[in-house]
Symmetry: C2
Subunit: 340 residues, 2 copies
């Protein structure tokens, strides 16, 4: 391995000078600079980031904890995060918590041990609240929560207008004549799930529609669970739903599609369907799916911007946390009818 010592020797300068020309943090004469640069080139010298980090305490890496890398919604967020981070000289260490809070804690341990400069996480829920408070917040390690929050933790947050989004979606259905509106959301421990349910209920109340337990299913992420949730709705309800809002993951949506298909329930003829998040393929479903969506790449970008800001401007450190909330938008396609 070629080190700064080798460069210094070849250029006949001190290691301090080598360091100075690399980091441009103190004056070096043209003459010496040239010699150093030449030596660097000749030796194909690359500074060792590990050694630098040990000294400076900065690793130029951000830890990223995601519940499911394979999920396209998350991977668009990751794309946004990676993009902004890379442009600003940061790398990301990507970890998959698999919606499992124990795995999540282990990941956090490792990430903290590797001295990431900051963290972005989409938490699995609130189970690690105390751990995070003790090991991240208290130690002033910058963190931003993305898409999902943890109640009671004061930190930067980038989310979307889940209440309004679900409220408007439900209203839209109501205005088109739907009266028996079912919803499938995340479990309530996941903030978007809780908030979307809140928006749904708000709309129902305002529109004076009775709220029925059997129309509300939550929990699960897989398409199997989507299938089962849908099945439960149909089995438990005397009056079958005339529409379903799938306000959880794309996999649950696929499960619902699967159930409807298996039972020959046609969209939108027999049932209206609205999904959440406009993934590239949903407009090519049969029929093209109406969705309530949010700019995913931009959300990721923003999260990265916030951590990096915090990492680099310790002075602002005691400011109160940033809460960014992205507007959601209903994209109307052909998966619902006007039925009145």
């Amino acid at each position: 391995m070629v080190t700064s010592v080798d460069v210094a020797k070849l250029a006949k300068v001190s290691r301090a000078t080598v360091s100075a020309v690399i980091n441009r943090n103190r004056y070096v004469s043209k003459e010496l600079e040239k010699r150093v640069l030449n030596a660097i080139k000749k030796l194909n010298y690359k500074p060792n980031a590990i050694a630098r980090s040990l000294k400076t305490k900065y690793t130029k890496t951000i830890g990223l904890v995601i519940p499911n890398i394979g999920s396209p919604f998350f991977s668009f967020l990751v794309e946004g995060i990676e993009s902004f981070s890379n442009k600003n000289g940061y790398n990301i260490i990507l970890c998959n918590s698999d919606e499992n809070s124990e795995k999540e804690r282990d990941i956090l341990d490792v990430l903290l041990g590797k001295s990431v400069d900051g963290l972005i996480m989409i938490p699995t829920g609130s189970k690690n609240k105390d751990y995070i408070f003790k090991n991240v917040i208290k130690s002033k390690k910058p963190i931003v929560f993305l898409d999902r929050e943890i109640n009671g933790i004061e930190a930067d947050v980038v989310v979307s207008e889940n209440i309004v989004g679900a409220y408007e979606t439900t209203n839209f259905l109501f205005k088109n004549g739907y009266k028996n509106i079912a919803i499938i959301t995340h479990s309530e421990d996941i903030t978007p799930g809780k908030k979307r349910l809140e928006g749904y209920i708000k709309s129902l109340k305002e529109n004076k529609i009775e709220i029925k337990e059997e129309y509300i299913k939550s929990g699960g992420f897989s398409s199997k669970e989507g299938y089962l949730n849908c099945e439960d709705i149909f089995r438990e309800s005397k009056i079958k739903p005339d529409s379903i809002i799938v306000a959880s993951s794309h996999l649950e949506l696929i499960g619902v599609l699967n159930y409807l298909d298996d039972h020959n329930i046609k969209i939108p003829k027999d049932i209206g369907l609205i999904g959440f998040d406009d993934l590239p393929w949903v407009r090519y479903l049969n029929p093209p799916l109406t969705v309530n969506t949010v700019p995913m790449f931009e959300m990721g970008n923003k999260a990265a911007e916030l951590v990096i800001d915090k990492i680099e401007s310790k002075k602002h450190y005691n400011n109160k946390p940033n809460k960014i909330s992205f507007k959601r938008k209903l994209i109307i396609r052909n998966s619902t009818n006007i039925i009145y």
Copy 2:
């Protein structure tokens, strides 16, 4: 920051002993071990991985270079990689080359500087061949190429049976009566593109079908390019294709879907369509799409297994490279007819 010195003091032992109980690499009496463990707990001590890496030369991280994180095919690969890596105590640094070879080189520079223990990459093409040879292969840094290879570089490789896959897909179409089969692939600098084209041509030759330039389009990744490629095929061909194999990305597939939709060309009535890679939603397209596919998660897993093997068993180091090739499989759904 609490260091091993603090622990040593509190436990009244030497730092070597602290290190030994953490790494379990030399005998420590029960008595001392207990004192150390207690001190660690009391101080909430976490070993500093940076310092350890500086000493040991191992970072327990793998660099991962992907052309497009947002692409579900790649993100399933990443999921497999992350899963295997994490189980074995490795983290991954994820970088997006954006199908851009210059960005790719910069990424490699940074990753190497951060002393990753090994690399997994899906190369953008062969432009960085010399760079990789000089900075990775020659320095014996373990690397495995995933999904795409670089010709002339001797390294581990995890790919799929692209020639056979495209060959069988084309044969299937032929057997069902299709005679005017078009194909859209990656550019030829990307090995799967080259090989899929090879398989397609092999089938055509065997079936004594004339090979027409205007039925073959390659290049691009976006849905816009898919749209344009499809448009070109229709514009340039006197006899319109009766079927299209979309052997590139899911985004190009979406572009093709979009073109066909815009021109009211119905699948499979007016045209047969076969895609590559069985993403969760393709069976819910209209109509359910026939695809030639490969187990993505498993491919990622295997790639991780190979790098880690190489990282950890330096002794085998001069073995000849592993070439793993995953079988592809045709999943027949309803996007083609039997037309004879």
